[in-house]
Symmetry: C2
Subunit: 332 residues, 2 copies
């Protein structure tokens, strides 16, 4: 196991300390709990946004805490749902009396624990609602999920919800537009290699030196098919075809694009992938409003990528373009 | 060779097309030459900044073209200096009549070709000057370098020069402050794995499953020592000790920090590294003004990282904090 760590027990504590040391203008850590909150929070008069999940997907979610983005991110152990008491602390710290929207990625353990924390804070009179991100079109139901998995499309959801909350919309309004964004976002990924959870020290799965897995989950959950690696264009064609079949985009529609690296895939390859994504959209007459290429939701050291498309209408576009200032996403 | 490409001949063309498709608001490509220039350029009344080098280090340099950053980036073949005629086209396209500063990373081939292009444009009456970035304290002289290599510290140099040029300083002034920044920046890196140049299809070097190389160059040039992998803190201690020996920082001094991933090292590990970097600076009484953690200058799929420190005075700090808007670096 070739990792730049000190010991497997301290990985998360040290990483969170490193995030806070790097971005003190954006985030601070709550004492005794793995929750990152806005340094300038809780922000008065604003619906608070809380997200989170298992760690190992950095910069998700601490990297998306900041102005126009999240108010708090709960960091579970690596690839493990945060516990209800951690989530409880995050909600309490983020709330400024205007209600809290929780953005949950669709994993069964996450939903259970976030819902439990919601019940706990509601008993204290905090107004809370939830949305569930389920953007991955690869498979219905999976190792840790009923329905579709939540993956990198959640970055776009954080952005939309963040802008809506920052503009002082009500909890009901923030939830409604966030749900619209969720209904409009689709993703799909693939992997070339596994990753190693530090505590186990072993790859989650084995894959041949010339193989890839189409539709792989971000924790190594099985995809659609294991096969010999194909060309970048052939792979993108398949992922885009699955995504577009599900979105039913028409000529003239407008989308935001995310080509997300899982970690070990170099940026030069992600740009080759984006080249084909952009060609396909152009061929369909779909306008690309903005594109992000890079590592926005990783899977430890996994090689591979995902594509996410968010269909924009006038309201979503305005929120998408609103300023944001978080460690991992800045919109000027 | 497990790469997400179409074929080895088209890697660079397709990647550049993918960059332009992703960031049309920032960069466009010149016809028939691998040069990315500002979409809104050439910018009137401003010294133009040109940098570049071999590809395979994305987002360097195309990702740093934009407002408050570079005006043009020349992309050589992978790990290969751009040719003088490419650089010539970049300078010609960037120049708006106020002179051009070329930022060269210290590799012998790059210096030769950039100097040759400088001679060519000077014959046409364009005022050009150069600076050479040589921030890597690991080794004196190396496979492709006389003196010290230029590595990720060049991101900070782009930022300082970019802000100086944007504020409409003269060529002499931009060069002077850029040279001051170069004198104030130091870096050092290490690698856990090699990378594979697509055209060769083979790793540049072999390294054991439990080994690391301290002081490795970004093209796989030998470092100081090959040995069994140590803990993250021990590795950071050594790199920081070499950097700080060379910088002679005093308590009360202020620095900008870059913890740069070479590609396959996950962000969670880079944050663990930053945690130790930040502790060391605190112990020395050195104030950290701003920190960047992520992939700012990669080496294809190499695993490993580098640390860069830029010592700031009042002038450099102001330039460092000035707004910038490029695909890979945004300062609000």
């Amino acid at each position: 196991m070739k990792k730049l760590i000190n010991n497997v027990e301290n990985v998360l504590d040290e990483a969170l300390a490193g995030i806070c040391a790097a971005h003190p203008q954006h985030v601070k850590k709550l004492e005794n709990v793995n929750v990152l909150v806005r340094t300038d929070g809780p922000v008065k008069g604003k619906v608070a946004l809380v997200s989170g999940g298992g760690s190992g997907h950095e910069p998700l979610d601490g990297g998306y805490v900041g102005k126009g983005m999240l108010d708090a991110a709960v960091a579970g152990a690596i690839f493990t749902s945060p516990t209800p008491d951690q989530i409880y602390e995050a909600i309490k710290a983020a709330d400024s009396g205007n209600g809290v929207l929780i953005i949950i990625l669709n994993y069964t353990g996450d939903i259970m624990n976030f819902e439990m924390a919601k019940d706990m804070v509601e008993m204290e009179g905090i107004k809370v609602d939830t949305v569930i991100v389920n953007d991955d079109v690869a498979v219905e139901n999976s190792t840790y999920t009923a329905g579709r998995r939540g993956i990198a499309g959640t970055i776009f959801i954080n952005k939309i919800a963040g802008a809506a909350a920052e503009s002082r919309r009500s909890l009901e309004e923030v939830k409604a537009v966030t749900q619209k964004a969720i209904d409009n976002v689709r993703s799909m990924g693939m992997a070339l290699s596994s990753c190693i959870v530090p505590a186990s020290g072993k790859p989650i799965f084995e894959i041949g030196e010339d193989e890839m897995e189409i539709g792989m989950g971000v924790h190594g959950e099985p995809g659609i098919r294991r096969e010999k690696i194909k060309s970048a264009d052939e792979i993108v064609n398949e992922l885009m075809s699955k995504i577009l079949d599900d979105m039913k985009l028409a000529s003239g529609d407008e989308v935001a694009v995310l080509v997300n690296g899982l970690s070990s895939t170099p940026l030069i390859e992600l740009y080759i992938i984006n080249n084909r994504v952009s060609q396909i959209l152009k061929e369909k007459g779909v306008k690309t409003h903005k594109t992000f290429v890079g590592e926005y939701m990783t899977s430890l050291e996994m090689a591979g990528f995902s594509i996410s498309l968010l269909k924009l209408d006038a309201e979503l576009k305005e929120l998408f373009d609103a300023p944001a200032d978080s460690p991992a996403l800045k919109v000027l």
